[in-house]
């Protein structure tokens, strides 16, 4: 196999593997009255469900993995959604007591729509959830790039 053929196959493989729309964001949420562990769990559940529903409304046909990690002064909370029928799986390391501020890292990977659409849908899902829980939101980082992982194989 020549180097060109090898590159072509590698590119093909990555495209096959990368037919997923992706979005990630790092968020800071705040509530001066405080957020209880129970509310934090409801928030994470709603966040993942709302974001996923918005993606499906825009044409996604399969969840790759939608997940979020919350870090607070009272501990951490991981949320993971792979199948809407099964629902959000939560792993809590939160201690008792409320907290006022949390950092949330969100990852959205779905099949059927590309990064720009996943980003728009995710943003709508985030806003819906923030409104429902009456939280203040600061977006610390908001990331998406199309075909980044295979860019190096594309000859310009």
């Amino acid at each position: 196999m020549s180097d060109d053929e090898d590159d072509a196959l590698h590119l093909e493989l990555h495209r096959a593997a990368d037919e997923l729309g992706k979005f990630a964001a790092r968020l800071k949420v705040h509530k001066s009255k405080g957020i209880s562990p129970a509310t934090a769990k409801e928030f994470m559940d709603s966040l993942l469900v709302n974001v996923t529903k918005e993606c499906f409304a825009d044409g996604a046909d399969l969840i790759g993995h939608v997940k979020a990690f919350m870090h607070t002064e009272t501990g951490t909370l991981m949320a993971s959604l792979v199948d809407m029928k099964i629902g959000v799986q939560l792993t809590s390391g939160l201690e008792e007591g409320s907290f006022k501020e949390a950092e949330v890292t969100l990852h959205v990977i779905v099949h059927g729509i590309w990064d720009d659409k996943v980003r728009e849908a995710s943003r709508r899902g985030i806003q819906k959830t923030i409104k429902k829980f009456n939280l203040d939101l600061e977006v610390l980082q908001d990331y998406f790039e199309t075909e980044k992982s295979i860019e190096h194989h594309i000859k310009k």
């Binding site: 790759g64 792979v82 980044k148």
Partner: protein, 222 residues
């Protein structure tokens, strides 16, 4: 230093299983480090893994098997020089190719005084979503199964008998040589057996001819 890959499609339960296997290996006296290659530049999994007191490093910004192979090799070298793990468990993103990842890991031998050996490549298949995945991302699932030494049919606690059997038949048709096991990261099923495989068994080092043959079979019509 032994390198163990745990591959599989998104949401197949890699992180959950990896944490439990790592804890089992730590309880056996091993010094374990974990490298995760999440999709995107913001990593979730490394943060989660560290909440279990495990040593985790993240590599982001591309595909671990080629684009950021240098970063991967460098991370292994740094881990070897500082933390001295005897086993490094790698959770590659869905776009990494197991044979390419072996090659990238072996690059670290040029950067520090270490000899890399490989545990069998383990691929997870989510039995609860096998139909959905074969409809939507067939080629990726096939690639991950084809390059595995051991395929774990995972989430058997949530899957029915038909889904498990369907998964088994699919794996056998794609990779007849693969060893097939049943697992549940949440219930601990198969954990000790997988830890045994990582601890005691060896998989061949990188061989360019083997990788090209695998690529050709998958994409070259061979």
């Amino acid at each position: 230093m032994k390198l163990a890959q745990i591959a599989g499609f998104l949401g197949s339960g890699k992180t959950t299983l990896l944490i439990e296997i790592s804890r089992e290996l730590v309880s056996r006296g091993h010094r374990i480090a974990i490298i995760v290659n999440d999709v995107g530049e913001i990593n979730v999994d490394a943060k989660f893994i560290e909440t279990y007191g495990l040593k985790a490093r993240e590599i982001s910004g591309g595909c671990i098997c080629c684009q950021i192979a240098g970063s991967f090799a460098n991370t292994i070298a740094i881990l070897h020089n500082t933390f001295k793990p005897d086993i490094v468990i790698v959770e590659p993103s869905g776009v990494a190719i197991p044979w390419g990842l072996k090659r990238a890991a072996e690059y670290s031998e040029a950067e520090c005084d270490v000899v890399i050996e490989h545990a069998p490549v383990i691929t997870l298949v989510d039995a609860t979503r096998i139909d959905l995945l074969m409809d939507a991302v067939k080629r990726l699932v096939e690639t991950q199964i084809r390059e595995a030494d051991v395929v774990l049919i995972n989430k058997v606690d949530a899957a029915n008998e038909e889904q498990i059997e369907k998964s088994r038949r699919l794996i056998q048709s794609i990779n007849p040589k693969a060893e097939i096991m049943l697992a549940s990261g949440r219930e601990g099923k198969g954990l000790k057996e997988v830890a045994d495989i990582i601890e005691k068994r060896i998989s061949p080092r990188y061989d360019e001819a083997v990788e090209k043959e695998l690529l050709r079979k998958q994409y070259g019509g061979g």
